[in-house]
C-alpha cells in the first residue's frame, strides 16, 4: 500500500473512531434511560440518513476534476484540521478541560431520565431524538472525512474501510462493556487526527493551487513530520507558559 493510502486508512480510522466513541456515549445514555427500542430506532434511522448522504454525494465527488477537488477539499481539511489541532493543543497544554466521556454520559443520562415521556408508534420520542441527533451529527463528520479524504486520494472504498474498522471496534467494545469508553485516549486521538487532517490539507491545497511539491508524493511524509513537530512544540510552549503564569 502506498504512503498516501496508508495515511488515508489510518486517518479515516482514527477520525471515525473518535466520533463513534462520542456517538456511543449518547446512544448508551438514551438506551439506559429511555429504553433500548427508542435508542436503537434513533441509531438505525440516523444510519439510513447518513447512507443516503453517502450514496448521493459519493459518486458526485468522483466526477469533479482532481485538481479542483483537491483545492476545495484541501482547503476544507486544512480549516477542519486546524480546528481539531487547536482544541487538542489547548487540552494537552492544560488551557481547556479534557473531554470526559464519563461526565458527558452522566449528564446525558440525568437529562434523559428527567425528560417527560411521550410515546409515538410505540417509541419513546425523547430517546429516539436523542439517539438520532447524536448519531447523525457525529456521523456527518465521519461522512465528510471519508468522502473528502477518499475522493481526493482517489479511493473512497479505502477510506470507508478505515471508518468501518473503527465502527466495528467501537461498537464491539461498546456492546461488550455497556459503558462509555472513558479509557480511550481521546485527546491523543484527536491530536493525531488534527495532525493528519492538517497534513493532507496542506498537501492537497498546494497541489490544487497548481504548485508542485519537491519530491512529489514523498513530500507528504515531510509535511507530516513538520506538522507533528510544530504541534508538539506549541504544546510544550503553551504548557510552560501556563505553568509560569500560575503563582507558586
Amino acid at each position: 500500500m502506498s504512503t498516501g493510502n496508508t495515511f488515508l486508512v489510518l486517518s479515516a480510522f482514527l477520525a471515525s473512531g473518535v466520533e463513534f466513541v462520542e456517538a456511543l456515549t449518547i446512544v448508551l445514555a438514551a438506551g439506559l434511560a429511555r429504553g433500548w427500542r427508542s435508542s436503537l430506532a434513533g441509531l438505525g434511522v440516523a444510519t439510513l440518513v447518513l447512507a443516503v448522504v453517502v450514496v448521493a454525494l459519493g459518486p458526485a465527488l468522483t466526477v469533479i476534476p482532481l485538481q479542483g477537488l483537491r483545492l476545495v477539499v484541501g482547503g476544507l481539511l486544512l480549516v477542519f484540521g486546524l480546528q481539531w489541532l487547536r482544541k487538542a493543543i489547548l487540552r494537552a497544554s492544560g488551557y481547556k478541560a479534557l473531554h470526559d466521556e464519563d461526565a458527558i454520559f452522566a449528564r446525558e443520562l440525568a437529562d434523559a431520565q428527567g425528560a417527560a415521556h411521550l410515546e409515538r408508534a410505540g417509541v419513546d420520542w425523547y430517546g429516539f431524538t436523542l439517539s438520532f441527533k447524536g448519531v447523525l451529527l457525529e456521523g456527518l463528520e465521519v461522512v465528510f472525512i471519508v468522502l473528502t479524504f477518499g475522493s481526493a486520494q482517489g479511493s473512497i472504498p479505502l477510506a470507508a474501510a478505515g471508518a468501518a474498522a473503527a465502527l466495528v471496534l467501537v461498537a464491539g467494545v461498546g456492546v461488550a462493556v455497556r459503558a462509555p469508553l472513558a479509557r480511550v485516549p481521546e485527546n491523543a486521538m484527536k491530536f493525531a487526527v488534527g495532525v493528519m487532517l492538517t497534513t493532507f490539507g496542506i498537501f492537497w491545497s498546494v497541489e490544487g493551487a497548481g504548485a508542485d511539491w519537491p519530491g512529489s508524493d514523498a513530500a507528504l511524509l515531510g509535511v507530516l513530520a513538520f506538522v507533528a513537530l510544530f504541534s508538539f512544540a506549541l504544546v510544550r510552549l503553551l504548557r510552560r507558559e501556563r505553568l509560569e503564569a500560575v503563582p507558586a
Binding site: 487547536r86 493543543i89 481547556k96 465528510f144 504548485a211 503553551l238
Partner: protein, 66 residues
C-alpha cells in the same frame, strides 16, 4: 426563516468552527499560493510557513478569550 438560519448556523459551525479568522487566513494563503504558481514562481513553501503562524494566532486568541 428560523429553520433556514439554524441550517446556516449548523454549516457555519461545522465548517468554520470557533475561529473564523483561521478559515479567512487559510483561504488567503491558498489564494496567494495559486497566484504565485500561476506566475511561474515555486509556491509549495507558502502554506507550510503560513499554517503554523495561523495556528499560533488562533491559539493566542482562544487563550485570551478563555
Amino acid at each position: 426563516m428560523n429553520r433556514l438560519a439554524a441550517f446556516g448556523r449548523f454549516w457555519w459551525d461545522f465548517v468554520i468552527g470557533d475561529d473564523w479568522l483561521v478559515a479567512a487566513l487559510v483561504a488567503a494563503a491558498i489564494a496567494a499560493t495559486a497566484a504565485l504558481a500561476a506566475a511561474g514562481v515555486a509556491a509549495w513553501w507558502l502554506l507550510p510557513v503560513a499554517v503554523p503562524l495561523v495556528l499560533w494566532l488562533s491559539l493566542r486568541r482562544a487563550i485570551r478569550s478563555a
